[in-house]
Symmetry: C2
Subunit: 141 residues, 2 copies
Amino acid sequence: MTEDGQVAAIRAVHEVFMRTEAAITGPLAELGLTTATAQALWALDPGEEPPSMKAVAARLHCNAPNLSFVADQLSTRGLVERVPDPRDKRSRALVLTAQGEQVRAEVLRIVTERSPLSALTPDELTTLLSILDKAAETPGR
Amino acid sequence: MTEDGQVAAIRAVHEVFMRTEAAITGPLAELGLTTATAQALWALDPGEEPPSMKAVAARLHCNAPNLSFVADQLSTRGLVERVPDPRDKRSRALVLTAQGEQVRAEVLRIVTERSPLSALTPDELTTLLSILDKAAETPGR
DNA sequence: TCCAGTAGTTCGAGTCTCGAAGTATCTTGC
DNA sequence: GCAAGATACTTCGAGACTCGAACTACTGGA
């Protein structure tokens, strides 16, 4: 019995993800970042309205205590700040500092340089993206 | 400046991977497995010649001490056995037990059921696989 | 006003991952 | 044959991440 297409595709996604992680861990460490902190940094887009911690936790598929932990690390390094929301005093937005924006740009540079996906053509990237987006948009189970 | 195609594709791979993990963690726990142990189990194909620990570590992109740790867990649960290689007494092959084969099949079932990729058509899966394989095959960095 | 619900934090435990060091075995070059 | 270096794996100890439980502060509705 041969492996079916879905199993092979899942394995391939997994493989690309693991290779990416393996390739970027070292360079990120030189920036004083781990995979977890780099992911959180990536999730903060300088061009958008600063998201609440709850929103960021949802993006990262992690829970509140975990995000608190990661935010502490980024905050200690001066890369993000917790800004109180005047409309809801329980809520705090995560905002990139100037240095945070610089380091985030570095992260993006490192990842795009080292990712196996850098071997693909623009057309392939477009196709890949449309397929993965369709999968991700489908309401989770 | 808008996000380029490669960044978007990397994010999409990441997203699908994270969703898959989030969706399978619970069901795997009911089998007494974690993500790490399930990945190791997945990496052992019942149809192939049992791979050495070194070979499995390479597949999982982890190092020797880590695989030793994971193999201990699977071994304690009676899912794999370490079989000495008669040709090289330093080496040990990881072999699925009968129960290990059953549990591995369960893992595959759970993952294929819950993965976001289950929303894709066979054609899309084929296209996805060919693109990702091309990326993964390209010599790392 | 009261009270259930929400956002975030703190704490403690569990798991994973890795480097360093150690053991046993293999292989190379003499 | 044999010493020296390399290899496969294990053990140990530390660091990092993740999560549930419990807590604080605040919100919004009855």
